[in-house]
């Protein structure tokens, strides 16, 4: 018998709304849906841990079930917990190990970025990975950039940030650090325009890929490291450009990993919430019309945080932006989920609705907050995907050019 603590499943009234909103259950019959895998099965698992279903592995942890639930059952959390508590996994999983260590792999890859990108896209390499690592052949990989964002920051921005009185700490996350330096640069531009100087602190991967691959202890270590590091930043505001990283920093740490993050929780915001607050307080920098038609896709974890409304609020204030708000659909990639051979078809199946909606909207760009959504959409549609911050930076850029 286990000590019973998280008993939110007791509130489930079996309305099955969560299963209606589950993107995986719609895409495949192999997953019986969040109601059955979560609150229903939890009672059985409490009775006998052997009654655990292998189908739990199909859950992407998108958390749309938790948004849908009228009874405040922590369905995705129950499933994640069960997945790693009851299902026995082999200790030797090289693919999952490297996939979840985004900072380790990223750190190595950025040293010889050109070579890495070349090798990883070789057909032979793809076949080998397909065969031996179970990474699907047709999956495209994000390109690695030369050097890290932290290195770039030290060289290029550290000095210029000192003139600002108000300080903001930027939790850049792995994607900005290894794959997308320009988003980091855009963020600094936008923060500067709002009158904030940007600092970086020591940080490790937020832990989302670790949780998704079952390395809960390692995730806890990383989380504690980040909590210590971010806790020491005085009263500076903390922002992040990744919706999933901010979700982990704000919500997964205290509830799923059971760690105390009260030292910074009041100061941390996902970037669009921060910008929205500044904008509505009257701190609006001069922007010029961007003249772009864009389709906005809302990532699952941002929805779970209730952050979509702020992104939309900010985007609406960007002049000259013709915004199509897409119906809320999961793109299917769910972090490392879509990079695994056994999930690839489901992952693509889940995304079909979204891809169709994007094609229909006929935009010039797609806008979204999440880095893995970006990969998925860029792979499956012909459009380039922008982060909301990049869009604002574009509006600012116009202004600078005008001055010149």
């Amino acid at each position: 018998m286990i000590k019973l603590e998280n008993i939110s499943f007791d509130h489930c009234i079996k309305c099955t709304v969560c299963t209606i909103y589950c993107p995986v259950a719609q895409a495949t019959h192999l997953f019986p849906g969040p109601k059955q895998s979560g609150p229903d099965a939890e009672r059985l698992r409490i009775k006998n841990p052997e009654l655990v279903d292998a189908s739990l592995k199909y859950c992407t942890n998108c958390k749309r079930c938790e948004i849908a639930c009228p009874s405040d059952v922590k369905i995705a959390e129950i499933i994640q917990n069960a997945k790693w508590k009851y299902v026995k996994v082999h200790w030797f999983r090289p693919r999952d190990f490297f996939m979840s260590r985004t900072d380790l792999v990223g750190g190595l890859a950025t040293i010889f970025s050109g070579l890495t990108n070349f090798i990883i896209n070789l057909k032979v390499m793809k076949v080998l990975m397909h065969l031996f690592l179970n990474i699907p052949y047709s999956r495209k990989f994000p390109a690695y950039q030369r050097g890290t964002f932290t290195g770039l920051y030290k060289k290029k921005f550290m000095q210029s940030q000192k003139v600002y009185e108000k300080r903001a700490v930027f939790y850049h996350g792995c994607f900005v650090n290894y794959n997308n330096h320009s988003l980091g640069e855009d963020l600094i531009k936008v923060m500067n325009a709002l009158g904030y100087g940007v600092d970086l602190v020591d940080e490790k991967c937020c832990g989302v890929p670790l949780i998704a691959n079952g390395y809960i202890e390692k995730a806890k270590k990383n989380a504690q490291y980040n909590i210590d590091s971010l806790g020491k930043t005085g009263d500076a505001v903390i922002v992040s450009t990744s919706s999933s990283c901010s979700f982990a920093l704000m919500h997964e740490y205290p509830s799923f990993l059971e760690l105390d993050n009260s030292s910074y929780i009041d100061r941390l915001d996902y970037i669009t919430k921060f910008i929205y607050d500044e904008f509505t307080a009257g701190n609006i920098p001069q922007m010029k019309a961007v003249g772009i038609r864009a389709a906005y896709h809302s990532p699952c974890h941002l929805e779970r945080m209730g952050g979509v409304i702020y992104t939309l609020g900010v985007l609406k204030m960007v002049p000259g932006l013709d915004l199509v708000v897409l119906n809320s659909e999961c793109c299917g990639i769910a972090g490392t989920y879509g990079f695994k051979k056994e999930n690839y078809e489901i992952s693509q199946g889940v995304g079909q609705n979204l891809f169709r909606l994007i094609e229909k909207a006929e935009p010039e760009f797609v806008v979204t907050d999440c880095e893995t959504c970006t990969m998925q959409i860029e792979m499956n549609t012909k459009y380039k995907v922008l982060h909301p911050v990049t869009l604002i930076a574009m509006a600012l850029e116009e202004k600078n050019k005008g001055k010149k």
């Binding site: 018998m1 019973l4 009775k47």
Partner: protein, 543 residues
């Protein structure tokens, strides 16, 4: 009129009746079992499903305690698929008399019950959800037993050995020839009359035995004592938790299948109220507040339903309280008592001693018939328990069907899982999502286990016994009755209506919090969406 000739008639389809039918069939005696409702629908199915170690009786009633322990060992052998070896604890709370602990240990030693004192830390390891403020703890070989499954597999075995089972059939008269009984006449659910002729009649109707005796013009006053229990949404404990004090209300929490039960109260009721099954608010208050003292989580958890059973105690002498009366076995040969030859009454006892009661009754019946065969029920395993399998190994053999479904079906039917689980599609279709009941299991129950309506089906499969109390499975189940030819389309709607009414009876006493929300939703589905009250109105007009 149908007429059946047989050797023995058994009236009452509880555990004792079913056990007697099995015992007699194993000795080659033909028998017919007549039950007015469904098997295990009376007192057998209305207890907390505890596989007693006997420790509860060890201080006051050594004989009962010893009987319990012996039957405990036997049942573990012959009916493992109805039993879960959870182990049991006796814990002393701060407000209890600390001296009772020692008394109980001694009593257990005397009665041959392996009770062992353990440290409080060890008790909390064994059952982490226990109140950490306990003063002392001991382990006893308690477990849980499912009375429905136990009765059903006794019945199945008897049937496979040639016995005839008539459920939903009411005995209307006992036929006599001089000072000997010759048979009974009875009426089925549809109103058909049947006459069953036999030289021996066994009255195993429990607390309803008084009525059966009255039909034979014999006075046998019963002493009805009501016990109420509360069902909690999920297993809040893995080990049976007993309170270490003299028997009183609300002193046990039993983990039964996917739920936990808080038991029991004891209340004397007049005989004409035995079919009412009402639970009073003060009983629920006692169960909740005392349950919380044993396991604090009780206060955060949804109560699913409350129910009560009536103990079949024969008032041999004029004792004052239900709890103090002996729960020993009462076997009456009415030839000696009332001069009516061939009529036997078996009553008293406990679910735990059903097999022993059946053995004694069958012995007497065989003596009357001149059959010399010995009882074998303590050696031959029940259907489902033929040979021992580990759950894990069995579950792995059915790859493709989710482990939770196979595991749950295996838990309910033991080895008879083979008759249910096949590669057919119906085994993938879940009907009851709370308790993992598939269409295949329902088909098996309807065809093989004497299921006549949805309430019967619940007793065989646990359909509708989960947190939603039939909200999502009742209408699917009703549809299947039609599909497998057990009801007409109109008939299946009526089955659905009756089932929901039966569920509602148990929900009503605990209607608050999440249970209330659940009921609102159920009401919305069945009334708002399906308009089910029309059925009721039609019925009333017909009536």
């Amino acid at each position: 009129m149908n007429r059946i000739e047989t050797d023995v008639i058994i009236i009452g389809g509880g555990a004792t009746g079913a056990g007697t039918a099995r015992d007699l069939s194993m000795r080659g005696v033909r028998c017919v079992l007549i039950e007015k409702n469904d098997i295990a629908s009376g007192t057998t199915g209305r207890n907390h499903g505890l596989l007693h170690s006997g420790a509860r009786y060890a201080v006051k009633d050594h004989e009962s305690a010893h009987e319990c322990m012996r039957e405990n060992k036997t049942l573990r052998k012959i009916a493992w698929h109805c039993i879960e070896d959870t182990g049991g604890l006796f814990v002393t709370l701060p407000e209890d008399d600390p001296g009772y602990h020692r008394l109980l240990l001694e009593g257990c030693r005397y009665a041959g019950i392996p009770a062992k004192e353990i440290s409080i830390r060890k008790a909390l390891q064994l059952e982490p959800n226990l109140n950490p403020g306990i003063l002392s703890a001991m382990t006893v070989p308690d477990g849980t037993i499912d009375p429905f499954r136990l009765t059903a597999s006794n019945m199945l075995d008897a049937k496979e050995r040639g016995a005839i089972i008539l459920t939903h059939t009411r005995v209307s008269a006992i036929l006599k020839e001089g000072s000997k009984v010759s048979g009974v006449s009875c009426i089925t659910k549809n109103g058909d009359a049947i006459e069953v002729m036999a030289p021996v009649i066994i009255n195993a109707a429990g607390v309803w035995g008084q009525e059966v005796c009255a039909m034979a013009e014999i006075k046998l006053p019963m002493f009805p004592s009501k016990g109420s229990m509360l069902i909690i949404d999920y297993r809040i404990n893995g080990v049976v938790v007993n309170r270490c004090r003299p028997p009183a209300d609300g002193d046990i929490i039993v983990p039964g299948d996917t739920v936990s039960l808080i038991g029991t109260t004891s209340k004397e009721i007049p005989y004409d109220k035995i079919d009412d099954y009402t639970i009073d608010d003060d009983e629920i208050d006692i169960l909740l507040s005392d349950g919380e003292k044993l396991i604090p989580n009780v206060k955060n958890t949804r109560a699913l339903r409350a129910y009560c059973g009536v103990r079949p105690l024969v008032a041999v002498s004029g004792e004052a309280e239900g709890r103090n009366i002996s729960r020993g076995i009462v076997l009456i040969d009415h030839k000696n008592r009332d001069g009516l030859d061939g009529f036997i009454t078996i009553s008293g006892g406990k679910l735990m001693t059903y097999r022993l009661m059946a053995e004694k009754t069958a012995d007497l019946a065989c003596k009357k018939l001149g059959v010399k065969k010995k009882c074998k029920t303590h050696k031959v395993p029940l259907p489902g328990s033929e040979s021992r399998f580990s759950s894990g190994r069995t579950v792995k053999r059915f790859s493709g069907i989710p482990d939770s479904v196979v595991g749950s079906t295996f838990y309910r039917h033991g080895q008879r899982l083979r008759n249910i689980m096949t590669g057919e599609k119906k085994n993938y279709r879940l009907i009851c999502e709370c308790e993992m009941v598939t269409e295949g299991e329902i088909e098996y129950a309807i065809k093989k286990l004497d299921v006549k309506d949805l309430v019967d089906l619940r007793r065989r499969t646990r359909i509708g016994m989960g947190p939603c109390q039939g909200e999502l499975c009742a209408y699917r189940g009703a549809g299947l009755f039609h599909e497998y030819g057990a009801a007409t389309p109109e008939g299946s709607v009526e089955l659905l209506h009756d089932f929901l009414e039966e569920r509602w009876k148990g929900i009503r006493p605990v209607l608050w919090g999440d249970g209330l929300r659940e009921s609102e939703f159920t009401y919305w589905i069945y009334q708002g969406l399906f308009g089910l009250s029309h059925v009721n109105n039609k019925k009333k007009k017909k009536g």
